[in-house]
């Protein structure tokens, strides 16, 4: 009972979701069946959405579900099923490639973890976590505001009115947002053009 009382539930759920994320990411790497890989990837990315929720980024978490898991991965599975012939379902990797990849991956991982642990501010937990105002973390309206007109997150702490809607060093993401939307439109048209069904030998169609 004492132990249970001391548990930080945020940490508990963080461990749960991070184990799911990492475990299924590893399963993606080590599975050779492409359909199972897609399924493991789904669970891994879904658990990553859980981590986003834990970090207070609910809108990003829901977006991860909607676009990544519900859109991109369904597309991927669609592609997998269109190309899932017997010989392509499980393709083995050569042992030499595994060794190379293990060296590359291991080295990269050590480098990244070393870099992470080197910065003391990143390792210090936020002890005033409970005092963070609800409106500062769970408010998706602030995201909409930051895309369109003003920044709600970096206002000065005094009650005096701030000098500008967008403080120095921060920016409003209207232009990137527009660029991304146009980009998405172009990509959709391009993908549709690339993947359209082509007629083979239209002149000799009657012979087939």
């Amino acid at each position: 009972m004492m132990l249970l009382a001391a548990i930080q539930w945020h940490t508990f759920f963080f461990l749960l979701f991070s184990l799911l994320t990492c475990g299924f990411a590893l399963a993606v790497v080590f599975s050779s069946n492409v359909v199972r890989m897609a399924f493991f990837l789904t669970i891994s990315l879904g658990a990553a959405a859980g981590l986003f929720f834990l970090a207070g980024a609910e809108f990003v978490g829901a977006m991860q579900f909607m676009i990544y898991v519900g859109g991109t991965l369904v597309l991927l599975i669609f592609g997998v099923m269109l190309t899932a012939h017997e010989r392509f379902i499980s393709m083995k990797t050569k042992a030499g490639e595994w060794v190379m990849a293990a060296f590359l991956g291991g080295g990269l991982f050590l480098l990244l973890v070393r870099a992470t642990l080197m910065v003391p501010q990143w390792n210090a937990p936020n002890l005033q976590r409970d005092q963070v105002a609800q409106s500062e973390v769970h408010d998706s309206a602030a995201i909409g505001a930051a895309v369109s007109a003003y920044r709600a997150d970096s206002l000065p702490s005094s009650s005096a009115p701030p000098a500008a809607a967008v403080p120095a060093g921060k920016s409003v993401y209207l232009l990137p947002f527009e660029i991304v939307s146009v980009h998405l439109l172009v990509v959709l048209i391009g993908a549709g053009y690339l993947a359209r069904a082509k007629k083979r030998n239209p002149g000799n169609a009657w012979q087939a």
Binding site: A5, A62, F65, M66, V74, M81, A133, S140, Y150, P161
Partner: protein, 435 residues
């Protein structure tokens, strides 16, 4: 709820044994509160499926000029589902030889879990919600889209071409219908200025003219588009091509039997209730009845804003919430009934007709209505919804932000910033703030 369990329930129990009271944030309260929520919501899905399957049989029977089930459990055959369930449990659980055993066994649970997870953010009455997500509607729409995974996996893993066809059709259909459905859902969000389902529900309080359905002609049209898309996205007839028995044996669940098969059906009925409940909140006032009997207009029993912020408990307010819950479930069940009515009335569409309905009718209609609603708001044209004063709406919308001192300060600063920005010409002041 956790505070309530700790400081009232458990402390009273412990008090009988002369043990000191627990602090309000003790873990036990949170775990018990979580369990209570889970069990309550799982009953909505399980008992709901029990009722809906019986109802489906009765409705189909009446539409086809039959009686439907009459024997099991008395005159109306209301225990028929139990008999069905017993039959399903005793059936052999078969895994085909060609199947990918792991995925085949997992697929029904994926489907069911996705359908069930959506209830996490669905409010049943004012404040009666598993977890109040700030972008609740976005969350639910995303979760409903996840259900397709179970179907695709079932289709692939069965190792049968009929199942694979069913799974592919489902994937194409659900991904396409997410587009118009997202557009339709945006319209209540634009009108209310919030993605929080509780806020959207609260803003429709009052007489039924305050329902978003009656906001303007475009909102009225868009509800029907939403309902069509919702029917398609939960894979019900006339859009149930994934299980079209006239062409694909039984589609994605051809190879399933027994309990695993029944999980798919629980998931289907679960998501039918979910999307109907969403329609009730978005367009039909949620838990607010057509006449506000418990509201300040007549009996004045419902909780006031201050009481909600303070979290006080009052019997009258509780009864008002309970009536709201009944209201909400009634509206959602009506939606499910209409879906059944449609299923037994219309013939199944062809796959190309399904895609045509989505891309050539639902998407343009949704887009036109979206522009129309935005224009209606912008031009401040007359709307029956205006019975509820705009200023009151703003205070409802921002209540989540201003119910604590620290929030009030943050909100005031934010409002200040908006005014400054508006004065500088970079953002128009919202209509409500000038009135």
């Amino acid at each position: 709820m956790a505070e309530f369990i700790n400081s009232r329930l458990i402390s009273t129990l412990l008090g009988w044994f002369n043990v000191d009271a627990l602090p309000a944030d003790h873990w036990l309260g949170f775990v018990l509160a979580g369990l209570v929520h889970t069990v309550l919501v799982i009953h909505v899905v399980a008992v709901g499926a029990l009722v809906f399957i019986w109802m489906e049989r009765k409705v189909s029977g009446r539409i086809q000029d039959r009686l439907g089930p009459t024997r099991v459990g008395g005159k109306f055959g209301w225990l028929q589902t139990l008999a069905d369930g017993l039959k399903l449990i005793t059936k052999e659980d078969i895994t085909p030889a060609n199947a990918d055993a792991l995925l085949f066994k997992l697929a029904p649970y994926v489907s069911f879990a996705a359908s069930f997870a959506g209830y996490l953010a669905l409010p049943f009455s004012d404040g009666w919600v598993g977890h109040q997500v700030n972008c609740g509607i976005f969350f639910i729409i995303a979760i409903v889209g996840m259900e397709v995974f179970g179907v695709i996996l079932a289709g692939y893993a069965s190792g049968s071409k009929w199942s694979l066809f069913g799974g592919m059709r489902e994937a194409a259909q659900v991904v396409s219908y997410e587009v118009p459905m997202g557009m339709c859902v945006l319209i209540p969000v634009v009108i209310c200025g919030s993605m929080d389902l509780i806020t959207i529900g609260q803003m429709q309080a009052g007489f039924f003219t305050n329902w978003i359905l009656f906001h303007d002609p475009f909102a009225f049209v868009v509800f029907w588009v939403y309902f069509t898309c919702a029917t398609a996205s939960v894979n019900r007839a006339p859009f149930d091509l994934a299980e079209a028995e006239s062409e694909l044996v039984a589609g994605f669940h051809t190879e399933y039997s027994g309990l695993r098969w029944s999980f798919f059906f629980m998931a289907e009925y679960g998501s039918m209730f979910l999307v109907s409940g969403l329609a009730a909140i978005l367009f039909f006032g949620g838990w607010n009845g057509p006449i506000p009997i418990f509201g300040p207009e007549i009996l004045n029993l419902a909780y006031t804003d201050a009481e909600i912020a303070a979290g006080t408990f009052r019997l009258g307010g509780y009864i008002a919430n309970l009536a709201g819950c009944v209201n909400f479930i009634g509206k959602a069940v009506t939606g499910v009934t209409v879906m059944m009515w449609i299923r037994w009335t219309l013939p199944r569409l062809r796959i190309d007709q399904v895609m045509t309905t989505c891309l050539k009718y639902c998407v343009p209609l949704g887009a036109v209505c979206f522009v129309g609603v935005v224009g209606w708001q912008w031009a401040q044209l007359w709307s029956p919804n205006d019975l509820h004063p705009q200023q009151a709406r703003i205070s409802v919308r921002e209540r989540g932000l201003i119910d604590r001192p620290v929030r009030t300060e943050g909100m005031a600063r934010r409002a200040e910033v908006v005014k400054k920005a508006a004065w500088a010409g970079s953002v128009p002041v919202q209509a409500g703030e000038t009135r």
